[in-house]
Symmetry: C2
Subunit: 286 residues, 2 copies
């Protein structure tokens, strides 16, 4: 049997994302032992039943002695989490996270002791379902994962963190935290906010009839079913990029609407065709 790359991996915030790190990390033998903590007592109970690692009720106890700490708490809790675990971290430990924004988390990570190395990451995996009950060892298989070093870390540390996320099944890409935030605004945060706005508007229409709704409306609004507590933090932490993107959606809606209002068939056709072509680019292999 191969020697695992880490002695002990601690997962802080073992819900859907963190729980899947535990399941995939254990199955792929990425550490000799695992530790985890979850704020939710339901997840704590479930994690104990799973028996993958030691389950702690105090987050400081969870990280003690770990050479890799994976933070999977909501992004608006990161600063608080870093402050709490800081004194308990082993000198030389690597710390990574799975947060959906990276500039704000990098900023928060300044609160960590100088004796540890933080390298942010963002695996593009998830679900509108939250909690360890929905965790899966396959969650990361083939998924894109951003690695966002600041450029000041030892290169060997960046490589170990990259290998860790690859070890879970991810396909990694390295970029700055700022570039990451710009990308995820376009492909994730703006679509999420737009799906929420669409759902609110549709639900207000006099013709809204859930029983008649087909897969079109369901698919277009599926992500709006996500937990608001999670998304609130994400959208606020990436507000300037998201705001810029939402302005663009508003402008495109107004463009299409005014073309419809004046019965401008060639213009409506041009906009719908451009949207179809752009949408088809998402299905083309990169």
């Amino acid at each position: 049997m191969e020697i695992p790359p880490f002695q002990r991996i601690a997962v802080v915030g073992a819900g859907l994302i963190g729980g899947s790190v535990l399941l995939a990390g254990s199955r792929r033998h990425l550490a000799a032992s695992f530790a985890c903590w979850s704020r939710s007592t339901a997840s704590q109970r479930l994690l104990t039943e799973l028996g993958i690692g030691e389950v702690f009720t105090r987050v400081e106890d969870c990280v003690r002695g770990a050479d890799l700490v994976v933070i999977a708490t909501p992004v608006d809790k990161m600063a608080e989490t870093f402050a709490t675990i800081g004194p308990a971290l082993s000198p030389g430990a690597l710390v990574t996270d799975a947060g959906s924004v990276k500039a704000a988390v990098l900023e928060a990570a300044r609160g960590l002791p100088a004796s540890v190395t933080f390298i942010g990451a963002h695996p593009m995996a998830g679900s509108e379902k939250a909690g360890a009950a929905h965790a899966s060892e396959h969650l990361y298989a083939g998924r894109a994962c951003f690695i966002t070093p600041s450029g000041k870390e030892p290169r060997a540390a960046v490589e170990r963190i990259t290998a860790f996320w690859q070890g879970l099944g991810c396909v990694t890409t390295e970029c700055t935290a700022a570039r990451h935030d710009e990308i995820v605004a376009a492909i994730s945060h703006v679509p999420h906010a737009a799906a929420s706005a669409l759902m609110l508007a549709v639900a207000d229409q006099p013709g809204f009839s859930p029983a008649a709704a087909g897969s079109g409306l369901r698919d277009a609004t599926r992500i709006a079913a996500g937990e608001e507590n999670l998304w609130l933090g994400i959208l606020l932490a990436n507000a300037s990029h998201v705001s810029e993107g939402l302005r663009a959606v508003e402008a495109r809606l107004a463009e299409l609407r005014t073309a419809l209002e004046r019965g401008d068939a060639p213009e409506v056709n041009r906009l719908l065709a451009a949207a179809r072509i752009a949408r088809q680019s998402l299905d083309r292999p990169a």
Copy 2:
């Protein structure tokens, strides 16, 4: 063997929707014989290979002798189709359609001879894939279908048309054409236009990165891959309802965006939570 409810069903515009009428109608023995016409030579060839009914290259020939004619051409072609087939229709024939708007089609149906009875319908089934090649005998199974009589037709005719769509597997609902158009604006046309606007806006963002896009963006914009030629006609024929709905989407986007811009966490949270609750209502059994 039961006597089929119709002698001969003619399907005008045998693509995805019309082709599925043929497949399901034949499998469920709804007529003693079938006739069909498609503008597309690829669909004509395919329909000939299927061998379900006589395939005609002239639409007038297709409808001759049929006691039920099903029009499945794009909605902006309906007036033209009615004018062309009118003289060839058998007196007493029933005519129905599968168009996504109903008031405009009812208006167009005034061009039919007084000796036939038109009763509009809209089965809520489809796909972003067009053409007879994607037709399926299961397309209508369990799907909602609006039946939109004007109120002036013989009740027996309404009942025969209702039984026909039920015979294909649909679950029917009767309402006026105007009410239908209000409903589908909310649950289908506004989401379609909004998905197109979102796709256009996202594709313009500096962070747009198709390779990193996950299922969230893909699902939210899936319907934007639909054929613009089909949707152009639908959106223009239902422009006033769609315009009203798009204004509401723009207003909700601006509400969410300005809350984000001023960092108003309780307000962002309130909007996201309301959207989540509305979205969850779509998954609740009616």
